[in-house]
């Protein structure tokens, strides 16, 4: 334990004790801090100037005016506090991303009380602020971008919730740890050799084989389809541009295999698997995945891709 502690670290520890991490935090007087803003101080300075003016001119109304400003400031304390109080922040869903880019986390705000919450600003340290208002007894969800520096679970920092409504003279804020994490997929690294073996072993050799054996029909051409899969015959019959559809027999499917990547560190392996996974998905090839502790049978489709990416992202994590 460090004897000399930076105030920042001390503050963090204190905050952790005061507002422990939880997936659902209701803001109350224990968790809300409030201080005047610069404008609040300017406002008080105007009140003070008017007070001195009132005294010097022996002007009761000027004095009353300065009392009014002070009083309004006092009312603003309560209203600003109230605006934040009673809102429940909940960790919501996540949108994964590749390591090195950004993902997003959802924060849900639920009002359990009889008053609404106007102009709440949510922010992770160092990221873009988002403004949200919640009506009484309703809920709102906000997606906040979060940087993903490394693969795996990336835990979000404390979320700062702040409001200056109604008068902007005071800032009420809280800093909550929603125990919230975002999944970072491995950063894809291109590699020439596909670390995959199919039913036929030699399939693994050619890296980007079309490998589509069974002609299954045609469908209208969609921009982006490979030129090689265009059904030229139908074009010749003046039926327009069509794309050939193939269905793979189960034997032609590929297994992306961890063990085929030798002599690389695990992160690098995952990155290469990831790149190939995306590549195979793009070229509509069914693929499976073999990791030391998991095996996912080959399939194709967006859900399958998601699942595979998730498995890669969580590899080695508890």
């Amino acid at each position: 334990m460090p004897i000399l502690d930076t105030p920042r670290a001390w503050y963090k520890r204190w905050l952790r004790r005061r507002i422990p991490p939880s997936q659902s935090v209701t803001l109350n007087q224990r968790r809300i801090f409030i201080l005047p803003t610069g404008y609040g101080l300017l406002f008080l300075a105007v009140a003070a100037a008017l007070f001195i003016g009132g005294i010097n001119y022996e002007n009761n109304l000027l004095l009353t005016f300065s009392f009014f400003l002070a009083s309004l400031f006092n009312v603003a304390i309560w209203h600003t506090f109230r605006n934040l109080s009673g809102v429940t922040l909940q960790a919501g869903g996540m949108r994964e991303g590749f390591a090195g880019s950004a993902g997003a986390l959802e924060v849900r705000l639920v009002s359990h009380v009889r008053h609404g919450h106007t102009g709440l600003w949510l922010q992770w340290p160092g990221s873009v602020e988002r403004e949200v208002s919640v009506k009484a007894k309703e809920q709102q969800a906000v997606w906040l971008d979060v940087d993903l520096p490394k693969r795996g679970k990336v835990f979000a920092e404390r979320l700062r919730v702040e409001t200056r409504f109604p008068l902007g003279l005071l800032r009420a804020w809280s800093s909550v740890d929603l125990d919230h994490w975002c999944l970072a997929w491995p950063r894809p690294i291109e590699s020439v050799e596909c670390p995959a073996g199919g039913g036929d072993d030699d399939e693994g050799e050619h890296s980007r084989s079309e490998g589509n054996e069974d002609f299954d029909g045609i469908r209208p051409y969609v921009p982006g389809d490979s030129l090689r899969s265009i059904h030229w015959k139908s074009l010749a019959r003046e039926q327009g541009l069509n794309t050939k559809l193939f269905s793979d027999p189960s034997e032609g499917r590929r297994w992306l295999d961890w063990d085929r990547l030798q002599g690389l560190d695990p992160e690098n392996k995952l990155s290469r698997l990831c790149w190939w996974l995306l590549e195979l998905d793009r070229s509509n090839n069914p693929y499976g995945l073999r990791l030391p502790d998991t095996e996912i049978p080959p399939a194709i489709g967006p859900e399958h891709k998601q699942q595979m990416l998730r498995v890669l992202a969580l590899y080695g994590e508890s």
Binding site: S24, A91, Q139, G217
Partner: protein, 305 residues
């Protein structure tokens, strides 16, 4: 009405032994106008259940065995050129029935699966630009092998959402197995079952489901379940609004099979697993059933102050 439904459940139970709850759920699913997915190993009595349901509810019944070489046309039908009339004539596929047993649906390619699921959702089929409505009632009972089996195409999540419930019959208990072994062939028994519910009665019961009361308190409970599924980090993605509507509909139907004209929280709790588990993925990678259980435990039935 309730008596008829109870008799139907009892009748089906005489062929599908010891699965009272699953049968009641399956009937509820039928009453709620939902489609049913049964996930089981082969030979667990899925076909028998389908047969029995069809008989008891006096429904037309067709069975389609899905294979990987199946094309959409094999299910939906095709237009055939008639040399006599020199016109294309539609030839209906097996989907034009009241109860379709789609056996081992995950053996078919995603495309074929998709064709069926679209028909299920829209309750109509479009062939060569001609749209034709499917019969009323229309009920699909699909069976699926556990995904880990080789040679299967797992149903994508978006498609799974179209099934109101997913059930698993499971192995019978020892006692029931004994009874099963000593009795005659279940499937032929099922074919010989006497109809209990007429088509009109079924339609009326489906209508009645919509009239089952769901109080504000109950809807509030469902809403809290949905909200919690979305927020608590148990699942990869929370329950969709469609899932919520399905949950309410299933709970209503379950209440009806229980002889009540209003829904209580226990109805929701019973149908929650079958209705939501196939739509969710546990975030921690564990079993969805455990996560669903966690969800139930985390949400109080009655609001706390």
């Amino acid at each position: 009405m309730q008596d008829v439904i109870r008799q139907a459940v009892t009748a089906v139970s005489t062929v599908v032994l010891g699965k009272e709850e699953q049968i009641r759920l399956a009937v509820s699913c039928l009453l709620a106008r939902g489609h049913l997915l049964i996930e089981d190993l082969p030979g667990m009595g899925k076909t028998t259940l389908a047969h029995a349901l069809a008989r008891v509810f006096s429904l037309d019944y067709r069975r389609v065995q899905f294979t990987s070489d199946m094309l959409p046309a094999d299910i939906l039908g095709v237009s055939i050129f008639n040399p006599q009339t020199r016109e294309f004539e539609p030839k209906d596929g097996p989907v034009f029935t009241q109860l379709l047993l789609a056996d081992e649906i995950n053996r078919a390619t995603p495309k074929t699966q998709g064709a069926l699921l679209e028909a299920m959702e829209e309750r109509q089929v479009t062939l060569d630009g001609v749209t034709r409505a499917l019969p009323e009632p229309f009920f699909v009972l699909a069976t699926q092998n556990p995904v880990t089996q080789a040679g299967t195409f797992p149903l994508p999540e978006s498609q799974l959402d179209r099934f109101l419930m997913r059930l698993s019959l499971g192995y019978p208990s020892a006692e029931m197995e004994l009874k099963l072994l000593s009795g005659s062939d279940r499937r032929s028994q099922a074919v010989n079952l006497a109809p209990v519910v007429s088509r009109e009665q079924l339609m009326a019961a489906q209508q009645a489901v919509d009239d089952i009361r769901a109080s504000r308190d109950l809807i509030d409970y469902i809403q809290r379940l949905l909200a919690h599924s979305r927020s608590a980090g148990i699942f990869v993605a929370g329950l969709s609004p469609r899932a919520g509507l399905g949950l309410l509909r299933a709970a209503r139907a379950w209440a009806l099979t229980g002889g009540r004209d209003y829904v209580i929280p226990e109805d929701v709790q019973v149908v929650l697993g079958p209705v939501v588990e196939h739509r969710l993925q546990a975030l921690s990678g564990g079993a969805v059933a455990t996560a669903t259980q966690k969800l139930l435990e985390a949400v109080p039935v009655v609001r706390r102050q």
